[in-house]
């Protein structure tokens, strides 16, 4: 116990790394779903659309007000029941136990990220002044074109750091997938550590893998931000 088992650590690093594709898959799927939906929700919130706005608020308040791990447990308990009913009603030969837990992960993390991104987009859109929309209208752009060409590009710049944060948080949060028995980074390394009780080594490896992935993601975002920020290069 006194010294680290470096040989194990070296091997377990790659075992942990082999879980990275699952982590990234969940991240990408969750983002692909929550970016458009979150944007749509943020418009509902900004317009104060009756009923829908209230529903959005409750939804966001719940997701942001309860621990993610509880949300995961909730989905893990509710989804199979709903799925089973659905499968039975369609007389499918599939069983709920055949469902890959990654589908549950897609659902949980999408629901979670939608709530986060709604707030990110909402505050970003709020930073673009209403007068930009007026100016666009005055030269004959439709509201839709104004959003697409003027408002969103500007909002994106302010949203990007938060978007980056949301993405790295999402990546980190996928470590909770152990609760779904999903064999991603954390669970793989942990299982590898079980026989020899090499938990310290395993967790150092896990730490390193997350460090690697998150640093790369942050680097990518920074690069992209620099590119987008071209128009602010010499802020007055």
């Amino acid at each position: 116990m006194q010294t680290l088992d470096l040989h194990f650590m070296w091997e377990a690093f790659f075992i942990a790394l082999s879980g990275a594709p699952i982590t990234l898959l969940i991240t990408v799927v969750a983002l692909l779903i929550s970016i458009p939906v979150g944007f749509f929700f943020s418009l509902i919130r900004l317009n104060g659309t009756p009923i829908l706005d209230q529903l959005c608020r409750i939804y966001i308040s719940f997701v942001r007000g309860t621990p993610l791990i509880i949300q995961i447990f909730l989905i893990y308990n509710v989804m199979p029941i709903l799925l089973e009913r659905f499968l039975r009603s369609t007389h499918s030969t599939l069983s709920v136990f055949d469902v890959n837990p990654i589908w549950y992960a897609f659902v949980v993390f999408s629901l979670y990220t939608i709530a986060i991104l709604t707030e990110v987009f909402r505050s970003a859109l709020k930073t673009v002044q209403k007068s930009q929309l007026e100016a666009a209208h005055s030269v004959g752009l439709s509201t839709c074109a104004a959003y697409r060409r003027i408002i969103i590009p500007q909002a994106l710049v302010t949203a990007l750091p938060n978007l980056c944060n949301a993405t790295t948080n999402l990546i980190k949060n996928t470590s909770l997938c152990y609760a779904l028995s999903l064999r991603e980074i954390t669970l793989r390394a942990k299982v590898a550590a079980n026989p020899g009780y090499n938990y310290i080594e395993a967790y150092i490896d896990i730490f390193l893998v997350y460090l690697l992935i998150c640093s790369l993601v942050e680097y990518g975002f920074k690069k992209y931000e620099k590119k987008l920020k071209a128009y602010q290069c010499l802020s007055a």
Partner: protein
């Protein structure tokens, strides 16, 4: 060409426009004068439909709009004929000077890119910014930004351009260049409706002055009439304050 009848607008209990009527002919350069809070800017914003007026009528060539129920098509049709120059320039922050001018041409008016580019460059040349095509708003001075704003408006060759206090956000030393640009395009026969506090522009360039106070038009006439023999006491008071040295216009 443009006729406005009985526009009314209230914010809550506060009536800002209480029945404004006037008309503008092609080639007119009309200046709206008046103390702040008299409803000048609101009037202009109602004409561009940034604000929804409560009642009234706008006749623009063959378009007849009842402000009580305006359709999207009518708003679009009127905006096609008009352009707006803002107090705070409101250039698109994410676009270069050239792209700012192009935006309305290519997306708003659906003019082919090549053709639009020629028009946009011509407009920027006219306001004296031929060397600033690729500059972003944040890289331009206030005066330059406003000149891009004017180029953005004239490029659309609208029938009328609304100017909403185009120089009030500018430092004193930058006002001149913008006024000179406005004067230049006025001399080319552009129809303009200008809200401003710049008396020199009203005197030298306008052919029609509308004096507003408290949400209604107090009097209107040629600059000569208004500046030398104003009929109303309120107009006199205002002019006395704004141009003590010109109390007697020669």
């Amino acid at each position: 060409m443009l006729e406005v009848r009985e526009i009314r607008k209230a914010f809550g209990n506060q009536e800002v426009l209480s029945g404004i009527s006037f008309s503008i002919e092609k080639g007119d350069v009309a200046v709206i004068l008046g103390p702040s809070g008299s409803g000048k800017t609101t009037l202009l914003r109602c004409l561009e439909f940034f604000e929804q007026a409560d009642s009234g009528e706008v006749l623009f060539d063959d378009i007849d709009v009842d402000l009580r129920n305006v359709t999207k098509e009518q708003i679009k049709a009127i905006r096609q004929k008009t352009a707006f120059v803002f107090q705070n320039y409101n250039l698109f922050n994410n676009k270069t000077a050239l792209e700012n001018v192009l935006e309305g041409l290519v997306i708003g008016r659906k003019i082919p890119k090549k053709e639009a580019e020629a028009i946009a460059k011509e407009a920027l040349d006219k306001v004296g910014l031929s060397d600033k095509y690729a500059y972003y708003p944040s890289q331009l001075s206030g005066g330059q930004q406003q000149r891009v704003g004017i180029a953005r408006a004239i490029a659309l060759s609208p029938e009328i351009i609304f100017f909403d206090e185009p120089t009030s956000a500018l430092d004193p030393e930058l006002i001149g260049e913008v006024l000179a640009t406005m004067k230049k395009i006025a001399k080319e026969g552009t129809t303009m409706l200008v809200v401003t506090h710049e008396m020199s522009f009203a005197q030298d360039v306008a052919n029609k002055i509308i004096f507003m106070d408290g949400g209604s038009i107090v009097e209107e006439g040629t600059p000569r009439q208004i500046f030398t023999e104003p009929k109303e006491e309120r107009t006199r008071q205002f002019l006395k304050r704004m141009l003590p040295e010109y109390t007697y216009y020669i």
